[in-house]
């Protein structure tokens, strides 16, 4: 909060740099997963996230964690990007992992699995299983009805189960 206050009152770029340093790993990590492992793209989008955060810092209300607010911006930046590029992989066209390949213990590359999900499903599943947010919190972050969040997570799970042959 102190760093945020310094940025708001004095336009302190050093203070903002400290904020960026603190949250850059989380934001970039999320965007790497959302962009199917495209690190360069994720970094570009992450930069846009922090620039928007700087521009709209006044609108941050301390009722939620700062990271939550950043994830909201990350989602908006990602969605804006996807509007320019429409790329949805059809689940039926992908090669599924056979039973013999599945090794739950070693941790299969989840990144490939996420490619089969639509953007909203991907974001919802990441915020829930990766970042640990509840359905209600995700609904607030994404500014989406709770029912929609639950549906997206359910659909995402069904697709991932099919992908991993988990049924």
């Amino acid at each position: 909060m102190r760093l945020i206050a310094l940025v708001l009152l004095n336009d302190d770029h050093k203070a903002f740099g400290k904020l960026v340093g603190k949250y850059q790993s989380d934001v970039r990590g999320l965007l790497i997963k959302l962009t199917n492992g495209d690190k360069a793209l994720a970094d570009d989008l992450s930069q846009e996230v922090f620039i928007r955060a700087y521009k709209y810092l006044k609108s941050y209300k301390a009722t939620a964690r700062f990271s939550t607010w950043l994830y909201r911006i990350s989602y908006n930046v990602f969605i804006d990007y996807t509007k320019t590029i429409k790329k949805t992989e059809d689940i039926d066209k992908l090669d599924f992992i056979s039973d013999s390949d599945v090794d739950v213990g070693s941790g299969i590359d989840i990144q490939n699995a996420l490619k089969i999900l639509k953007e909203n499903e991907k974001v919802a599943i990441l915020l829930h299983y990766d970042k640990g947010y509840s359905h209600t919190e995700i609904a607030k972050i994404l500014d989406t009805p709770l029912g929609t969040v639950k549906t997206n997570i359910l659909r995402a799970k069904e697709k991932l189960k099919k992908y991993y042959n988990y049924e």
């Binding site: 903002f16 990590g29 970094d43 620039i51 739950v104």
Partner: protein
């Protein structure tokens, strides 16, 4: 544990294993260098600056009399126009006036917490 719970656990574990701390490697520096400096002047600050400037002029006039500054200004202008070196006193008066103006304005501006 139900099949569903097992799959939930599997997803959480997979994400945890995929999570790594991403090194900064100049990312922060890049972001900060692309920030546009906001215009820190606001209406309130402009008002403070104006009032501070006005106060400094007023203080100078009260302490030195308005005539001295007017005479000095005319002297400098006339001599400057004719490319003649102005008198030392005129120069001193104007320098003092500008110095007081900047000093008081600066103090008031820095004191401002808006």
């Amino acid at each position: 544990m139900s099949k569903n719970d097992e799959f939930d656990k599997f997803l959480k574990t997979s994400f945890q294993k995929a999570n790594i701390i991403i090194k900064d490697e100049g990312f922060t520096e890049n972001v900060v260098s692309n920030l546009r400096t906001k215009r820190v002047f606001s209406t309130k600050r402009n008002l403070i600056l104006f009032l501070a400037s006005f106060s400094s002029v007023l203080i100078f006039f009260i302490s030195n009399g308005y005539k001295s500054i007017l005479i000095s200004m005319i002297d400098i202008f006339n001599n400057g126009f004719q490319l003649i070196k102005p008198s030392g006193i005129s120069f001193l008066v104007m320098s003092t006036f500008i110095g007081v103006f900047i000093y008081i304005s600066n103090i008031e501006y820095n004191k401002s917490t808006i």
